[in-house]
C-alpha cells in the first residue's frame, strides 16, 4: 500500500447500552451494539463500513462524534497541528474544536433538516455556533458552500420542503462542510436517493474529497456504492469487524463467509448474471444475546464444531487483509467477478 498518514486509530471500541427493566429500572443486561472494534483511517482515504441492518454501523459513527459516550476503548485522532488526542476521553469542553473537524451526514434527507429553518439558517448554523462568521460575510460563505455542492445560492431563503430529496442531501452536505471538517462520516448518505441523483451526489462527494483532502467513513449497506467509492472496506457483524481489506481484494477475494454471502446477495443489473445466490437465512443475531463462539456460526454454511465454541480473532492474512474466521486460510470463497 501507498504510504499513509494515519488520521484516526480506533482501538477496542465498545458501546454497550444497558437494558433496564421493571419499576426500579434495574439493569438486566446489555445491548452490545459495538463490541471491541479496532481500525484505522488514513488521511484522504475513504473507509467503507458495511453490514446488515442493526449490526452496529451507525453506533460506531455516533461514538466517533461523541453523540454516545463509548463504554470503553480509545479513538486516537491526529489534529490539524499534528498532536494526537483520545476523542473517547476528552471532556465536553475540550471536544468543541473537534466537533468542527469531524462532521456527519445523515441517512434521511427528509427528517435530518429542520423544516422551520431556511436553507441559509441550516447551513449557517454551525458557522454561527462557532462564531466564525456573521452578517454579509456569513451569507457569502453560505452562498459559496451551496455553489460547491451544485445548488443555486438564490434559493437560500427557501425552506427544505421546497427541495427534492437529492437537493436536500446536498444541503446536508453543505452544512457538514461549513466548518471545513477533516473527517466526514457519511451514514447511508445516498441510500434514500434515486439512482440518477445518487450518482450526482457520489460524484460531488468524490470531487470534494480531492479538492479539500477529506477523509470519509462511508457507512452503507449498498455494496455497489461502497465498491465504487471506498478505498478500503470494513465488514461488520453483530458489533464486531469480521473482515477489513482494500476494496479490490474484498470484492474479488473475500476471505470471510459473511462477506461472501453479502456480496452474493447484491442484485446485479444484468439479467445474464442471475446468480446462484447464497441467501443468508434468518436475521442478524441479537446483540443483547449473541450466539456462542463465532457470532456468525448459526448462519454460516462453512461452520464446523469448533465455530460454536471458540471465538475467532481478527487477524492478518496478508495484502492488507484482516479476517476473523477460523478457516480464513483454508476456505476458497467467491467474490463478485467469479461468475
Amino acid at each position: 500500500m501507498e504510504k499513509c498518514s494515519v488520521l484516526l486509530t480506533v482501538n477496542d471500541l465498545k458501546m454497550h447500552f444497558p437494558i433496564r427493566h421493571g419499576f426500579l429500572q434495574r439493569v438486566t443486561g446489555y445491548v452490545k451494539a459495538v463490541d471491541g472494534v479496532s481500525f484505522s483511517v488514513c488521511c484522504g482515504e475513504t473507509l467503507g463500513l458495511v453490514g446488515e441492518s442493526g449490526c452496529g454501523k451507525t453506533t460506531i459513527g455516533r461514538c466517533l462524534m461523541r453523540a454516545y459516550e463509548p463504554t470503553c476503548g480509545t479513538m486516537i485522532y491526529q489534529n490539524e497541528r499534528g498532536e494526537t488526542v483520545d476523542l473517547a476521553r476528552l471532556p465536553g469542553r475540550q471536544l468543541k474544536p473537534y466537533r468542527r473537524e469531524l462532521r456527519m451526514i445523515f441517512q434521511d434527507p427528509y427528517s435530518s433538516l429542520n423544516p422551520r429553518m431556511t436553507v441559509l439558517d441550516i447551513v449557517a448554523e454551525p458557522l454561527r455556533v462557532h462564531h466564525l462568521a456573521k452578517g454579509k460575510d456569513l451569507e457569502d460563505r453560505v452562498a459559496a458552500l451551496l455553489k460547491r455542492v451544485g445548488l443555486r445560492p438564490e434559493y437560500m431563503r427557501r425552506y427544505p420542503h421546497a427541495f427534492s430529496g437529492g437537493q436536500r442531501q446536498r444541503i446536508g452536505i453543505a452544512r457538514a462542510l461549513a466548518l471545513s471538517p477533516r473527517i466526514v462520516i457519511c451514514d447511508e448518505a445516498v441510500s434514500a436517493l434515486d439512482v440518477s441523483v445518487q450518482a450526482q451526489i457520489l460524484n460531488i462527494l468524490q470531487d470534494l474529497q480531492l479538492e479539500l483532502n477529506l477523509t470519509y467513513l462511508f457507512i452503507s449497506h449498498d455494496l455497489s456504492v461502497v465498491e465504487y467509492i471506498a478505498d478500503r472496506v470494513a465488514v461488520m457483524y453483530v458489533g464486531k469487524l469480521v473482515e477489513v481489506a482494500p476494496t479490490e481484494r474484498l470484492f474479488n477475494a473475500p476471505r470471510h463467509p459473511y462477506t461472501e454471502a453479502l456480496l452474493s446477495a447484491v442484485p446485479k443489473p444484468d439479467p445474464r448474471m442471475r446468480s446462484r445466490r447464497i441467501v443468508l437465512e434468518g436475521e442478524v443475531a441479537d446483540p443483547a444475546n449473541p450466539p456462542s463462539g463465532c457470532y456468525f456460526h448459526p448462519r454460516c454454511r462453512y461452520a464446523q464444531a469448533r465455530c460454536a465454541t471458540e471465538r475467532p480473532e481478527l487477524h492478518d492474512v496478508g495484502q492488507g487483509q484482516q479476517v476473523a474466521c477460523h478457516f480464513a486460510e483454508e476456505l476458497s470463497l467467491s467474490g463478485v467477478r467469479a461468475n
Binding site: 434515486d194 439512482v195 441523483v197 445518487q198 465498491e227 442484485p267 443489473p269 441467501v279 463478485v336
Partner: protein
Amino acid sequence: MEGPELLLEVKGLKTYFFLDEGTVKAVEGADFSLLRGGTLGIVGESGCGKTVTAYSITQLIESPGRIVEGQILFHRRLNGVEGSPATTEVVDLAKLRPGSRSICEIRGSEIAMVFQEPMTALSPVHTIGDQIMEVILLHRKVSKKEAREQTVEMLRHVGIPKSETRLDTYPFQLSGGMRQRAMIAMALMCRPSLLIADEPTTALDVTMQAQILELMKQLQREMGMAVILITHNLGVVAEVCEQVAVMYLGEVVEWADVEALFADPLHPYTQALLRSIPKLGQSKKGRLDPIKGMVPDPYNRPGGCPFHPRCAQMIAGRCDQERPPLVRRPDGRTVRCVLYADS
C-alpha cells in the same frame, strides 16, 4: 390453450390529480401488458408515476385524483363448475367506480398489493393475525377457526417462524423483514392471480432483500400468479423480472423483455438510467455518469417529449415541439422516442 395467455393490458392510461395549484398529470400515457404468471418490472425515478399506475390498476386513487382516460383490461378467470374448462371474462378496471362492489371483490382477492412501507399499510392497533384473517373472512366463506388455521399456514409459508404465536403480535414488534413477510402473507391469502408489489424491498438491507425476492419467486412458481414489481433498483429488476416498463414523467417510454432491455436499451432515458448506476465488479474508479438535471416538478411538465430537457440526443425543433409517437417494433418492444419513429 395456445401460447401464453394475457392477464392484464393497460392501454393509454391517464390519471390526473386536480389540485388548486393546477393539474398534476401523474400518469400520462401508460401502455404495457402482462401474461398470466409473468413478472413485469416498472422502473423510473421517484415521482415518475409508478405508484399512481399501481393504484390506478386497483382503483385506489382518491379524490382529487381520477383516471381520466385509457383502459385497464383484466382477464379474469371464472372457475367453471367442476369438470368444465375455466372461461375468462375481460373487465375494464378503469371503468369500475372506486369503492364499487365489483372492484372491492377483485381487489384483495384476485389482485393484491404489497406496499413499500408495511407500517403504513398494517394497522398498528391490531395483531398481524387479526388483520390477515380479516382478509379471508371478507372474501371467502370460511369459519373463524378455518381462517385462523389458514393464516398460521400462510405465515409459515412465507417464512415466519413460530407462526402460531407470531399471529398474536403487533406489527411494531416485528423487524422490517418480518413485517414485509406478514404483508406478503396477507396479500397472498386469497391466492390472487396478480400481485402488485410497490418497492417491497427498498427499505430493507441486501440480505433481507434477497430473502424477500426469493420468497416472492418461490410463491409465484407455486401459485402461478403474475407479479408487477415496482422498484427503482435496476439490479432487482434484472434479477427477477421477465418484462420491464420504464416510466418517465407519467409515460411508459419503453417496454421490453428484460434481456433485450439490459443488452440493448432503446430509449435515451433507459440508456441514461443504466449508465448512471455503479455496477458491482465493474467499477473502474472513474466518475459516474448521472443523468443531467432532475425530474421536473409535475406542474412544469415540459412540452413535446417530456425527457427533452435532459436528453443528450434531443433534436431541437422536434423533440421540444411534438409528442413522440409510441413505436411498436417487430419484436413486440415499444418505445416512445422520435429516434425510432421512422423505423
